[in-house]
């Protein structure tokens, strides 16, 4: 009986998990450009990519030797190189941002259900975007200002949570409840905004569903730079998070400045989420699920969980994008719908496992 109760060791361990993830990533990187809302022959895609990467030395005529007529090749090149490939990279970057942000929040709140979505950081981003759409603020370039508004909305929410966290007597539970309450408040505000301003509601709805449509090389560059910095800083808190799992007091007694670490991690995770939300809207469940997959497969050391959740999140989101194109060819299904479809069953499974553990006395 004790045998059955004792928690399982990680299935793969960090090293093998890394190898498996890298392998899947390579496969996805090969497959993903072939998939998109416009069906482009695989050979053309391959040659266009090689043409672009080599700066024109390989396949000087991108579509040479394929049945594709010359006049289509130009359009294909734009679609593949300016739309599809940036979208593939944005999926990876945003997946990584959500994954590591979820991992960090689960760690700091010591709660397996914490994620940026639950705490209202994502909703804050939506409000920012909604304000722009609903009031049709005259801006020169919506593609530039939309992410800025969304980022501001998300980061403001993060700062509010941080404000609560600064409170001297705020326990982890208080914080988590405050976040959940905030998320509900924000969605109520959003509903109100949409109710009285139906014109902007279609765009906002699309935003709510999350999508990779804003991807450009510039967006990718900005997001990539920011996420690399944030992910590195978060990963450097791995040791602290390991100790915080034993309780704030224990962590404090072992030399962790628990309050300061809490503020820093929430700030960094909020920023990572804000960046994801800014470019893609709300994509749920990646942040929730990725850290769990890493813990189950690679162990619970946060020095592994954090970068691992980034990698798994990236793979997860790109895979979700690819599967949505395979399952519904030719359509542009918002990716947020797809992650939810995959994520909800997992979420329920998690709840079931927890309930089982608690009824078996394995708390």
């Amino acid at each position: 009986m004790a045998e059955a109760l004792s928690p399982r060791p990680p299935v793969l361990g960090p090293l093998r998990l890394g190898l498996v993830a890298a392998l899947i990533l390579v496969v996805l990187l090969v497959v993903s450009p072939l998939l998109g809302s416009v069906a482009i022959p695989a050979q053309d895609v391959l040659q266009i990519v090689l043409h672009q990467i080599s700066g024109g030395t390989l396949f000087p005529q991108a579509c040479a030797g394929t049945p594709t007529p010359e006049r289509l090749c130009g359009a294909y090149t734009i679609i593949v190189w300016q739309l599809v490939i940036p979208e593939v990279f944005l999926a990876l970057i945003v997946g990584a941002a959500l994954g590591i942000s979820g991992g960090a929040l689960q760690g700091i709140f010591r709660n397996p259900l914490a994620d940026p979505f639950l705490l209202g950081i994502s909703s804050g981003g939506t409000i920012g975007a909604a304000v722009l759409y609903v009031y049709r603020i005259e801006v020169a370039d919506a593609d530039v200002f939309l992410p800025i508004f969304a980022f501001l909305g998300a980061i403001t929410t993060g700062l509010v949570i941080l404000g609560v966290a600064r409170g001297r007597f705020s326990s982890v539970e208080t914080l988590l409840l405050a976040g959940v309450a905030l998320a509900n408040l924000l969605s109520a505000i959003l509903s109100l905004l949409l109710l009285y301003n139906p014109i902007g509601s279609i765009q906002v709805t699309f935003w709510l569903l999350g999508g990779l449509g804003l991807a450009t090389w510039t967006v990718d560059g900005i997001a990539f730079g920011a996420i690399v910095v944030l992910a590195t800083l978060l990963t450097l808190h791995g040791r602290e998070l390991n100790l915080i799992q034993l309780g704030n007091d224990v962590a404090q007694s072992a030399g962790v400045d628990a309050r300061r670490v809490r503020l820093r991690v929430i700030l960094l995770a909020s920023m990572a989420t804000a960046i994801a939300v800014a470019f893609t809207g709300i994509i749920g469940f990646v942040g929730l699920v990725s850290p769990h997959i890493v813990r189950r497969l690679g162990g619970s050391d946060y020095r592994i969980v954090l970068p691992g959740a980034a990698v798994v999140g990236a793979v997860f989101l790109l895979a979700a994008r690819d599967i949505s194109f395979v399952a519904f060819p030719g359509s542009v299904l918002p990716i947020g719908i797809f992650t939810a479809l995959a994520g909800v069953p997992f979420f329920l499974y998690l709840l079931y496992r927890q309930r089982q553990a608690s009824t078996m006395g394995g708390m």
Partner: protein
């Protein structure tokens, strides 16, 4: 008091801590020295844990200060403090099934920068402390697969990995059985002597405190009321004043350490039945055989006494919890004349005698034999199940003594129900209790 001359590791000066309205600690001044084992004793809510938390910097004192190795505590960063003082909480509940070895390495945190990996020295320390707490063979196992006693030793190992000259323990043994209590405190004691680590431990059990500590500091309502070697400070007066109990204070003939046998509650009133059913009824038992009888007789309103019970035995605990007069002996030792004399005086006072179905060995055979002279004058009931044949661990002598009681006129009863029936029939009610 050789320790007084050695270096002061912890000094609290006029320490006062308040939780809102309630004063949790009031003007406490004390010092701990290198290599010294200091026990913090006192009833629940006396301020032991608060004192430890103030030393750890978890709470800010309203007045007074804490000095660690001559430096004011509040000026230290969490990391600096963690290099000076480590903490073993009452119970740690890890969530993740971290490998024990990695868990112990967490204790090396205060010596690491954000980019440092665990060094060879860190790993050597982890292996050493695991060996010191006796868990070297479990180092690759998950922390959640350890038993309660092992878990507490793992926590100790994590704290020891901080290699601090001061170690604080907060009721470290309260979830452990007696064997694991002795084991854990014994290890801490040895480590403090070998490494000259200064230990401050909140310990509930005064006997454990007296056995392991060089000094006991007694707190009561947030104030320091006694501070000194166990033999000097434990007194009837202190026990009555601080804990509200009366107890027999004795001295362990081997170690010279004082130990106490709680007798009565003085200040907290035990539940008193509305009507005294009669008595006193003296119950002879041990090893848990008497506890159900003691409880049921007390509930029924009989005046009850018990003897001779081994100290720390579950029968003795039941008797203590019910605040019964009791004769007690050190466990596994032959019954002393002193204990037997007390038992006989309780037997003399008894209106009825009950012999619980306890296991009889050479050390407590006298318990049966001492009843014999009273059988003629006092109604004596022997609980029949389990049969004496199964409980005789002294090669037939117990069967002999049991048969002698029957021959002298003792009555066998089947169980507690029958016992109650015959006692109610035999003993006159004593009227309403005062």
């Amino acid at each position: 008091m050789s320790s007084a001359s050695s270096a002061v590791s912890l000094h609290c000066d006029d320490l006062t801590v308040r939780y809102g309205e309630r004063v949790a600690l009031s003007g406490v001044t004390l010092s701990a020295h290198a290599g010294e084992f200091l026990a913090l004793a006192g009833p629940n809510g006396s301020g032991k844990t608060t004192l430890l938390r103030a030393v750890l910097g978890f709470l800010t004192p309203e007045r007074g200060r804490v000095e660690l190795f001559g430096r004011p505590s509040e000026g230290l960063s969490a990391r600096e403090r963690a290099q000076k003082v480590a903490w073993v909480p009452q119970m740690e509940s890890p969530r993740d099934n971290v490998r024990l070895y990695d868990y112990v390495l967490y204790g090396r945190f205060p010596y690491h920068g954000p980019l440092d990996a665990d060094s060879g020295a860190d790993r050597a320390i982890a292996r050493r402390v695991l060996a010191e707490v006796g868990l070297a063979d479990r180092s690759q196992d998950g922390i959640l697969s350890l038993s309660g006693g092992e878990r507490q030793r793992a926590t100790l190992a994590r704290a020891l990995a901080q290699t601090t000259p001061l170690l604080l323990l907060d009721e470290p043994t309260s979830h452990l059985d007696i064997a694991h209590q002795l084991d854990l405190l014994g290890r801490v004691r040895t480590l403090s002597q070998e490494r000259s680590v200064s230990v401050v431990a909140a310990i509930h059990d005064l006997n454990l405190a007296a056995r392991f500590a060089d000094r006991i500091v007694v707190l009561s309502h947030g104030r320091l009321v006694a501070d000194g070697p166990p033999g000097e400070i434990l007194s009837d007066d202190l026990l009555a004043r601080v804990w509200g109990i009366s107890a027999d204070l004795r001295r362990d003939p081997r170690s010279g350490a004082p130990y106490l046998i709680p007798q009565h509650l003085l200040s907290m009133s035990a539940p008193v039945p509305r009507e005294r059913a009669g008595g006193p009824v003296h119950v002879v038992g041990g090893g848990g055989a008497a506890s159900p009888i003691l409880r049921i007789l007390t509930e029924e309103g009989f005046l009850v006494s018990a003897g001779v019970l081994p100290l720390l035995d579950s029968d003795a605990e039941a008797a203590e919890a019910l605040a019964l007069p009791v004769a007690i002996e050190v466990p596994f030792a032959p019954l002393s004349d002193e204990a037997r004399a007390r038992n006989r005086s309780l037997l003399t006072a008894a209106q009825a005698i009950v012999v619980a179905p306890f296991a009889v060995g050479p050390s407590n055979l006298a318990n049966l034999e001492d009843v014999r002279p009273f059988v003629r004058t006092t109604p004596t009931y022997l609980v029949r199940q389990p049969p004496i044949h199964d409980r005789d661990f002294c090669g037939g002598a117990a069967i002999g003594a049991y048969t002698a009681l029957l021959d002298a006129g003792a009555t066998e009863v089947a169980d507690a129900t029958e016992l109650l029936r015959v006692l109610h029939a035999r003993l006159k009610p004593l009227g309403t209790a005062a």
